[in-house]
């Protein structure tokens, strides 16, 4: 009974751990692929990741190449949609002080598709919506509408979004006398900011922008400097029609690694100087790669620990059983039973015991997972901005794999322990005093 209980609890623990890792992987993947716009595949000009930030003009993708890449990707049925992105940094000013920003310029219709994507809503619902306001693709919004990260809005002293300013009928075009006592209140009362940077021609450039939403990047590192800007507005700020990279979003279940090789070969054949990166490349999604490496290390450690405990528990239980039944083994041997037949009896007994424990363990894991899911518990993983919903994801695949491994361990542990005793001489078994 104790053995069965140990196996059941160990199995339930393994399933919950695997479920948590699976759920976290889905969350981090959605974050990397959709929310942080890596796509399943991202296409950069060769060496752009190393030199693109310092020489964006030389390493950006020009209009002609954008068309060629689109043409090449558009025919592929495995691709759901394509996004064009421009990355850039500069200063965002509230009229009195400026704060550094890192902007992602995205096409409004693609961004809308991402935010409403069923997979994002399923696995990263925390990130799909906005903390406040509506997306810059909303009909009726100005072309200069932008979304800023929550931390950046706080640093700017801009708690209101465009909708709120409109409802309150506040004049947001007024000049702010920064030395005046009411300057902070005036800054807080509107959603207007200015973005400034050194553009691709080397000139100082600035544009007006209207904050229409606050959002979370999902990453603590970027949650106080990130900004989501319509691609045309960011291109206007940088005086360019180039983009930094293109991202391909694949249909669910497509093997992205195979596609990387395939598309790379097509680019090479056409002598196009572009490199395809999968989203799980550490140069593209460092956080995803780091987080998953940590989870995998943790999982390996716990899996070995639980498997070890299960093996020792079964071996211990079988040893005790065999010692208690030594004379019975001797009787069976004297009746003509072969040692292997007796070992098989023990194996069958333990298989039944382990199977029942596994069923109980799975039931326990399911109850706990449902309870956790309905409890709406959240946790804050390191490096993640905001809270993540704790909801272990139990799958038949993980259940089956772990169950088979535990059954194998049970068979092996029973066989090793039982074989030694059943092979002893019959006389020794019948006269054993240990039983």
């Amino acid at each position: 009974m104790t053995t069965a209980f140990a196996i059941a609890v160990g199995f339930a623990g393994l399933l919950l751990l695997a479920g948590h890792i699976l759920r976290s992987e889905k969350y981090f993947k959605m974050n990397a692929v959709y929310i942080n716009h890596a796509g399943h595949l991202s296409i950069y000009k060769t060496d752009s990741l190393d030199n693109g930030f310092s020489k964006p003009k030389s390493y950006g993708i020009d209009k002609d190449d954008q068309g060629k890449i689109e043409k090449l990707l558009n025919g592929d049925q495995r691709i759901e949609f394509i996004g064009k992105y421009l990355k850039g940094s500069g200063l965002v000013s509230n009229g009195c002080r400026s704060i550094p920003f890192f902007a992602m310029g995205a096409e409004p219709e693609v961004e809308s598709r991402i935010r409403n994507h069923p997979l994002v809503e399923k696995w990263a619902s925390e990130l799909a919506g906005f903390i406040k306001g509506r997306g810059f693709w909303t009909p009726g919004f100005l072309p200069e509408s932008i979304a800023v990260s929550k931390g950046l809005s706080q640093l700017l002293g801009k708690p209101l979004v465009y909708d709120e300013v409109q409802t309150k009928n506040i004049d947001n075009n007024g000049f702010i006398d920064c030395a005046a006592s009411g300057a902070i209140d005036k800054i807080r009362s509107d959603s207007n900011v200015q973005l400034a940077t050194r553009n691709y021609d080397g000139d100082f450039s600035a544009v007006n922008a209207e904050i229409v939403s606050h959002y979370s990047t999902g990453l603590a590192l970027t949650d106080d400097n990130a900004m989501l800007v319509p691609l045309p507005l960011l291109q206007q700020l940088f005086s360019t029609d180039k983009i930094t990279y293109m991202a391909a979003y694949l249909k669910d279940g497509v093997n992205h690694k195979a596609m990387v090789r395939e598309i790379q070969n097509k680019f090479n054949d056409l002598n196009m100087p572009y490199v395809i990166y999968p989203f799980d490349n550490d140069q593209i999604s460092l956080f995803y790669v780091g987080a998953m490496s940590f989870f995998k290390t943790m999982a390996v450690f716990f899996i070995f620990l639980v498997f070890g405990v299960v093996a020792l528990t079964i071996a211990n239980s079988v040893t005790m059983t065999i010692i208690e039944r030594t004379r019975e083994i001797g009787t069976l041997r004297s009746m003509g039973f072969l040692p292997s037949s007796i070992t098989n009896l023990f194996i069958c007994e333990n298989l039944v015991l382990t199977s029942m424990a596994l069923i109980a363990g799975e039931f326990l894991a399911w109850i706990l997972s449902e309870a956790i899911g309905h409890g709406h518990f959240t946790y804050r993983p390191p490096g993640v901005a905001g809270e993540v919903i704790l909801a272990p994801l139990l799958t038949w695949e993980s259940c089956s794999i772990f169950a088979v491994i535990i059954l194998c361990i049970a068979i092996l542990a029973t066989w090793i322990t039982a074989t030694g005793r059943t092979n002893q001489p019959v006389v020794d078994l019948l006269t054993s005093t240990s039983a």
Partner: protein, 245 residues
Amino acid sequence: MKTRLFFSILCLVFATTSVAAPSADLLLKDSDRSRGGNLKGITWDIEIKTEDDGEVNTRDFSVKAKGVDALVEATSPARNKGEIFLFNDRAMWFLKPGLRKPVSISARQKLSGQAANGDIASTNYVGDYDGKITKTEKIDGVDTYVLELKAKAKNVTYDQIRYWINSTSHLGVKAEFLTLQGMILKRATFEYNNHINHEGQSIPFVSKMNIIDAKFSKNKSAITYMNPKEEAHPASLFNINNVNR
């Protein structure tokens, strides 16, 4: 005997006076004046020619300065016309037609090529830096004092400057702009072929500043100063509220 003693003391006094270096503040004040610093009102035009990774660009500005304030207006190319940089001591603003509010910017930001925003306005090293004369050195046959300047505040153009000032004319000859850790960011040399009338005297005024990136010597900028003239500017010219309207 008394007469000999008097002359000996007199000689000693003169000898001491002739070798005593001027204070760092005096050197900076004099050198700043020839770079537009702390004058009651001055106007000049500048042309910044930039060579960055083989790409050459030219931009023109008109500068009006008074004391620690300066108003810099872009005059060419046409796409930049009307853009204004306003310097109120260490606070800096950028404005352009159509921009609803001025943008607060930093003197350290690069304006064009190697030239930082702070390089185009009048120079006020005496107010912005603590200076110390460290040694004397001959640069192209000219005796100079070498000053180590440390920023008094974080919002000045450079953290540290090594500044060579002509020991006779008190004009800045050469500068190295350094990071807080002492790493050289860029080097500059100055020419003084312009003259302005200051308090009835003709004084030399900077005509060219050549700035070279310390790491990539191919990346350089030349600021040419033209038509400098002292003229009175009203304080309201440098008021952000007025400029913005």
